[in-house]
């Protein structure tokens, strides 16, 4: 299976057979990415608008959407960072990801059908579009857009880190002396990805997502069945993990350091575990790329039905997380947690299958990175470019700007990789979470009435961003002086909690109190472009003769007489008050 060219490479630790399989699979995926240009395409005029390039024509059904939305979540991050955190520190750092991806589905169930309805009706492409329309505030939309872009970059960077990890284990680019040589494979892969995305838009990652998930399911199934069995079953795996953490904590305490490993959370960890889970769950679908996946679906029902099936991804994430413990039991030794899983695969699998596994991780990095860069580019185009620079831009111009912006976003992600502590790579995602969660009041609460006041929302956002960033900046770890962790003592509670949630609480209080104050003071709120008889409860499945089957109906105009004005079609848990502020 090994190509002679690869096998004959010079580096000492280079794994030729692995790399050959890896390279072949990645090349195949690249071809798929270019084929995507023609996939589900409308005609020669397609790809010339943002709806088509950035949302693939808003026509994905349940099957494609399942892969696409799953592809957002099941990233190289889950493959590398979560098991790495399990390997290094156990439950609070690692297993919380399972709790958070459990909680995310109810959140999606409630928020996303409503978001889809509003966006579909008014042609919104990004969350910032929604905020702009809902509050009539360009500055609030800009805040949401900038937050989205900035928060997405560390997430893309995390994908790069995941790729670096597998390359490092394969012995590619271990030449520490030359930064260019070291990072060349990643740069090449991202270059190819950039070109695919540029030409095919969202269709590229959507099509590649099939290949990616096939590979990942295969690898996870084999890994979770074969490896634990070899090391003596799950009982032995957990015993080994507990033994390692006990030893590590004893050693840390003896050395005068704070013990960090947690096998089962103790009472002082409950708040940290709970806030990490809740904050991440609320944050995940505020990310522009997650919303992009949702908006590319063809109907509200597709989203809802999918929430019942998407937990399968969480189950796989749980298996992957457990592989972190399996690595402990299998005797993998590394001081760099993100290498734990690649090293486990390298140690336990035959070379060719390790190559498949590494390709799965790398493709798992490329798909989300593509979706993320598209989403961030759409944010830039719609809010910054059209919203502030060139309001008269044509659809073709929008698509073109977005394509270029998608390239720039990928470059921006590199800055995070070079500038931050990638050893503790899970923090990259948590830092993005701190920022993106601050858009929750404007975006998620903006889906229903009564509306909060736009100025109060902006104030809350500002305070949340500043507080969250400062707190994150102050956290230091043995490896990093700043941005070394995502937990900080919650004022008033005396226990550590996720910074994002503390900042969000501040944000929310300011938004609500400020809204009441501004309302009492008689300061007018912005115009609501979505207002109209159908604004609170658009029964979209009954709005047209055929909305579910045909997503291509022109969006009904604002102010069109509502066909039916019941509260029934807005998502379940919040019955919207009929009054508007």
């Amino acid at each position: 299976m090994s190509a002679p060219a690869a096998a004959g490479a010079p580096t000492g630790g280079f794994h030729g057979a692995q790399f050959a399989v890896f390279a072949v699979l990645l090349a195949a995926v690249a071809v798929l990415g270019f084929v995507a240009t023609r996939w589900r395409r409308a005609g020669p005029g397609a790809l010339a608008s943002l709806d088509d390039w950035g949302l693939a024509g808003r026509g994905f059904g349940g099957f494609v959407a399942w892969f696409l939305v799953g592809g957002d979540i099941f990233t190289a991050y889950t493959f590398v960072a979560v098991p790495g955190a399990m390997y290094a520190a156990g439950a609070v750092s690692g297993w919380y990801a399972v709790a958070y991806t459990t909680l995310v589905w109810p959140v999606v169930f409630v928020l996303m059908p409503r978001l889809w309805t509003l966006s579909h009706r008014h042609g919104y492409v990004t969350p910032a579009d929604l905020v702009r329309g809902r509050y009539g505030s360009r500055s609030l939309a800009l805040a949401v857009a900038v937050t989205g872009i900035v928060a997405t970059m560390p997430y893309i960077a995390l994908q790069l880190v995941g790729m670096q990890a597998v390359l490092e284990v394969m012995g590619v680019g271990t030449d520490r002396g030359n930064a260019l040589v070291r990072d060349l494979p990643v740069i090449i892969a991202f270059g190819v990805l950039a070109v695919c995305t540029y030409t095919a838009g969202l269709r590229a990652p959507a099509l590649i997502a099939f290949a990616k998930d096939l590979l990942i399911y295969l690898v996870v199934a084999v890994a979770i069945i074969v490896i634990p069995h070899r090391v003596g079953g799950f009982g032995a795996v957990f015993d080994a993990a507990e033994g390692k953490f006990d030893a590590a904590n004893t050693a840390a305490t003896a050395a005068g350091r704070h013990p960090t490993a947690v096998f089962i959370p103790g009472p002082k960890d409950f708040l940290a575990y709970g806030t990490l889970a809740l904050g991440s769950a609320m944050a995940l679908f505020m990310y522009p790329h997650a919303i992009t996946g949702v908006l590319a679906t063809r109907s509200r029902e597709v989203i809802r039905r999918n929430t019942a099936v998407l937990p399968l991804y969480t189950l796989l994430l749980a298996f992957l997380a457990l592989l972190g413990y399996v690595a402990i039991a299998a005797g993998v030794h590394t001081t760099n947690p993100r290498l734990a899983i690649p090293l486990l695969f390298d140690q336990e699998f035959p070379a060719w299958f390790a190559g498949v596994a590494f390709a799965a991780i790398a493709v798992g990095a490329l798909v989300p990175a593509a979706i993320m860069s598209i989403a961030a580019a759409n944010l830039f185009t719609r809010t910054v470019y059209v919203g502030h620079l060139r309001p008269a831009a044509t659809a073709a111009e929008e698509a073109k700007v977005s394509k270029i912006a998608s390239l720039l976003v990928k470059a921006g992600a590199l800055v995070f990789v070079l500038g931050l502590d990638t050893q503790n790579s899970i923090n990259l995602q948590l830092l993005g979470g701190v920022w993106i969660l601050q858009t929750f009041p404007a975006v998620a609460l903006g889906l229903w009435r009564p509306r909060l006041h736009r100025r109060a929302l902006l104030g809350g956002w500002l305070v949340g961003m500043v507080y969250g960033t400062l707190m994150a900046y102050e956290q230091h770890s043995p490896l990093a002086h700043h941005f070394g962790g995502s937990l900080a003592t919650v004022p008033g509670l005396g226990r550590a909690g996720y910074i994002a949630v503390t900042a969000f609480a501040l944000n929310l209080v300011i938004a609500i109190v400020g809204s009441v104050a501004l309302w009492l003071a008689g300061v007018p709120n912005g115009p609501d472009a979505t207002a109209g008889p159908d604004a609170t409860a658009g029964p979209d499945t009954t709005a047209g003769p055929d909305t579910t089957a045909s997503p291509d109906l022109p969006a009904p105009r604002t102010g069109q007489p509502a066909p039916a004005a019941g509260p029934t079609s807005s998502p379940p848990t919040s019955s919207p008050p009929t009054s508007s502020s």
Binding site: R40, A42, G45, D51, D52, G57, R58, F60, G61, G62, F63, V64, A91, W95, V98, T102, L103, P106, F109, V110, G123, G233, F234, G235, A236, F238, F263, I264, G266, D269, F270, G274, L278, R298, S299, E301, R304, A308, V309, P311, L312, L315, A318, A395, P539, T542, G544, T547, A549, D552, L553, P554, P563, A564, G566, P567, T568, P572, T573, S575
Partner: protein, 119 residues
């Protein structure tokens, strides 16, 4: 804004749905009933949904209720398998909610609106 343009572009496109299994093109005719006939079922379905989703969220967030080692299941400590149990309960619960809500909406949109859900 540019909505007219966008809308007309969307209107031109008729996507082939050959790769979609779940979102089959069942037509739902919008035979709508007057408002009163649908208000009875929907709030119940939505309340049930709120309870189901709320339970799942509360169960996961009450970390103290399950941060224990035993009893083990196939060697997996309680804390770990209990988390996964709630994932399963949540998925089944949400499937139930989808069914309830779509039934409520089908009822409200008239008899002919039901065919797309059952097939």
């Amino acid at each position: 804004m540019t909505e007219d343009r966008r809308a007309s572009e969307r209107g031109q496109r008729k996507g082939p749905a050959h790769l979609d299994r779940t979102g089959r093109g069942h037509r739902r005719r919008g035979a709508r009933r007057p408002a009163d006939s649908r208000l009875a079922i929907a709030p119940l379905a939505r309340m049930a949904t709120a309870v189901v989703l709320g339970c799942q969220i509360a169960a996961v967030l009450l970390v103290g209720t399950y941060a224990r080692r035993g009893p083990r299941l196939w060697g997996v400590p309680f804390f770990y398998w209990y988390s996964l149990l709630w994932l399963l309960i949540g998925a089944v619960g949400m499937a139930g909610c989808v069914w309830l809500l779509s039934r409520a909406e089908a009822t409200r949109s008239g008899a002919s609106g039901d065919d797309g859900r059952r097939a």
